[in-house]
């Protein structure tokens, strides 16, 4: 990783070398406005980072191309590079240098998923993000500079975010997307903010940063051309005839002589990602670090969308068994890992794995727009916090299960067992239920089912209250209710079916 500094020598060099640049073609469209500033992030170790998160790269590791008899090294980590391994080397040569080398086969799908994640991550800086497969992300950030306190601060932040995710990247800023890519790939510690300053740094760009086909680069090298400055000195027509018009277009795009509209990255509507575990985990506790990483990604995803979720699913994927599935339903929207972590932890504490887990899958429910909460404006204290109720609900449900926590409501119904219902806790008062003005007292406790009272020998206190209704739905009741007192002094609500004969039933306790 390197620090980005403003280009020190641009103005003088630019004026000297401008003459060397071929003149713009007469029919070229106007150059893109100077208003654009592109941030390019190039990830040289993406094939490796996609398979092994940075923190697990303690050992020297390489990724090799799958359909390649030589098994060329595509990417290697820092440790491997220190021991003399470089991309392009055959695997045998690499193993000869480092016998204990960890070798992984390249997985394009994982790389695409990581790049997608990076695109999502970049959306926190600007809505204009585009992916540049195989290993780069572009973001137009001119409009965001003020918001982030200038170009340097934005780059610093981006670098900090990437390295905290264990990703190695090189960043560059340039007025055209292609030039930004060149600078990033060339790992030049440069920021170029004006189109007319671009030719001045062309001499410092090696041909490799163009990512052109190998044979093209080899041919150019054979012509004695080592950098982009020398390349643009070639006559345009000859270049186009020899290498095709597409590469010439690329050069024009790079120098801002040709507009290069890019497809904007559009984020998927839900979070759905798979996380490999470093080793098969037999207990839920062992996946916590990975889960933590997943929550951090989820948070970044949600932050970029200014959204929250109310449903989070966690699947533990096993080699042979069906996945172990967990679902977390929240009473209020959540976005931050700090909010989700304790809930998930409670939930996981109750979960047992039937087989060792190989990977985790984290999926969100639908994304919901999150109203901006001004953290710090309201103290997270006692009753001043309107979210404390929702937080409590989530916490209890995470550990005890969804159905173990509920509220109750009144229902306008004369049959006692139907005069209430279980309801979702919400604190908002239900509609007032019309009742006959005077109703005999009802017990505070209700039994789930009336219980037969065998050998009842208590005392009847008041009654009967005749409840005879419900004939219309076939579940009619014909009962005489009494308030009674048990031997232990408990006031009970008991009834006898009509016509009498079936004995007494206990239905409620006055409490």
């Amino acid at each position: 990783m390197f620090e980005l500094r403003p280009a020190p020598s641009v103005p003088a060099a630019a004026s000297r070398r401008r003459a060397l640049v071929p003149l713009p073609a007469p029919d070229a469209p106007p150059a893109p406005g100077r208003d654009e500033l592109w941030l390019a992030a190039h990830f040289p170790r993406l094939p490796l980072d996609a398979l092994l998160p940075g923190t697990w790269q303690a050992r020297a590791a390489v990724v090799t191309a799958p359909d390649d008899p030589r098994r060329t090294v595509v990417a290697c980590n820092e440790r491997a590079a220190h021991q003399g391994i470089a991309p392009g080397m055959g695997l045998n040569a690499a193993l000869a240098r480092v016998p204990g080398l960890r070798v992984e086969e390249r997985r394009p799908a994982a790389e695409a998923a990581l790049l997608d994640r990076l695109g999502r991550w970049a959306l926190q800086f600007t809505p204009a993000v585009s992916l540049e497969p195989p290993g780069a992300v572009l973001a137009e950030v001119r409009g965001s500079l003020d918001l982030f306190g200038g170009a340097m601060e934005l780059v610093r932040r981006a670098l900090a975010g990437l390295s905290s995710n264990g990703l190695s990247a090189s960043l560059a800023l340039a007025p055209t997307p292609r030039a930004a890519l060149w600078l990033a790939r060339g790992e030049l510690a440069l920021t170029v903010t004006r189109t007319d300053a671009l030719p001045g740094i062309a001499a410092r760009l090696p041909l490799a940063c163009l990512h052109w086909p190998e044979d093209t680069v080899a041919t150019l090298a054979g012509l004695g051309i080592a950098n982009v400055a020398e390349l643009v000195r070639l006559p345009r027509t000859g270049f186009a005839a020899r290498f095709g018009p597409r590469l010439l277009d690329e050069l024009d795009e790079g120098f801002g002589r040709r507009a290069a509209p890019r497809r904007r990255y559009v984020m998927p509507e839900r979070f759905d990602e798979r996380f490999e575990l470093p080793a098969p985990a037999e207990a839920v506790a062992l996946v916590e670090p990975v889960l933590e990483q997943g929550l951090a990604r989820l948070e970044a995803f949600l932050r970029a969308r200014a959204s929250g979720i109310r449903v989070l699913r966690v699947d533990f994927l096993h080699r042979t068994h069906e996945p172990t599935r967990l679902s977390l339903a929240l009473a209020r929207m959540a976005r931050d890992a700090a909010e989700l972590r304790p809930l998930l932890r409670e939930r996981l504490g109750r979960c047992r794995l039937e087989a060792p887990a190989e990977a985790l899958r984290l999926r969100s429910g639908v994304l919901l727009p999150l109203h901006i909460r001004d953290a710090g404006l309201f103290e997270r204290g006692r009753s001043a916090d309107p979210e404390s109720t929702a937080r409590l609900l989530d916490l209890l449900r995470a550990r005890l299960g969804h159905d173990a926590v509920f509220s109750v409501r009144q229902v306008a119904e004369h049959r006692p067992e139907r005069a209430f219902r279980i309801a979702e806790p919400g604190l908002t008062a239900g509609l007032p239920v019309p009742w006959p003005a005077a109703r005999p007292a009802r017990p505070l406790w209700m039994l789930a089912e009336p219980q037969p009272l065998d050998g009842w020998d208590g005392t009847l206190v008041t009654g009967p209250e005749r409840i005879e209704t419900g004939w219309w739905d076939g579940r009619d009741v014909r009962r005489d209710y009494y308030v009674a007192m048990s031997r232990a002094g408990v006031r009970l609500w008991i009834f006898r079916e009509r016509p009498p004969g079936q004995g007494w039933f206990l239905h409620g306790v006055f409490g």
Binding site: V408, L427, V433, W435, P443
Partner: protein
């Protein structure tokens, strides 16, 4: 005169003179209030009620205070939490007593060990106006945790336990034993922080 006395007991009312007295909410029973320091249930602490059998009148004893606690609210409504109650609270009876059923949060953990945990969470959250919890055996540490959580969350914790635990030590600020006497309910104050043991007879008439 009576109205003023009533008003002065309002928990939301703070008087300069009673800074040292504990915050309380009237029990709704004058005979009991007279025996309790501060003239009511202490707020933000653990209150233990020992009952000979579930249903002897313990809820009716608490109802007036619950109603008051539910009404004297800040802008944010809070719950009355019922943790592991022996039966379902019956919404029509609550409504008859002047308690909005929507304010009730019923928690029925399957495992006994989750009861005290859930009660602690409810207390600590500050999201409840009052927490009623049913527990059998609970060691001193668990009870101290509850008391601490009640103090932290500013929530009164009413812990209902079988009368067989009367002999156990308890960190509760207030400890009452209920007993049925004929058609009435006697309340014995076993322990009262800042007060003295006492007995109030025939508090509730069945």
């Amino acid at each position: 005169m009576n109205g003023v006395a009533e008003l002065l007991r309002h928990p939301a009312l703070w008087r300069g003179g009673d800074a040292g007295a504990p915050d309380t909410v009237p029990t709704g029973f004058r005979a009991l209030d007279a025996r309790l320091p501060g003239g009511g249930w202490p707020l933000a602490t653990l209150i233990e009620l020992l009952v000979p059998a579930a249903g002897v009148g313990e809820i009716r004893l608490l109802l007036p205070a619950l109603k008051r606690l539910a009404m004297t609210e800040s802008a944010v409504p809070r719950w009355i939490a019922w943790l592991a109650p022996p039966h379902l609270p019956y919404a029509p009876a609550l409504a008859d007593a002047g308690l909005d059923p929507a304010r009730m949060l019923v928690v029925r953990p399957r495992a006994g060990s989750d009861r005290l945990w859930a009660m602690e969470q409810a207390l600590r959250s500050g999201a409840c106006a009052a927490v009623l919890g049913w527990a059998g055996a609970a060691d001193g540490t668990a009870l101290r945790r509850l008391k601490l959580a009640a103090e932290e969350g500013g929530t009164p914790a009413f812990l209902l336990r079988p009368a067989t635990h009367r002999g156990d030590g308890s960190p509760a600020a207030l400890r009452l034993a209920l007993a049925v006497q004929g058609f009435g309910l006697d309340v014995e104050i076993l322990k009262s922080r800042g007060g003295a043991p006492a007995r109030v007879e025939r508090l509730l008439i069945h």
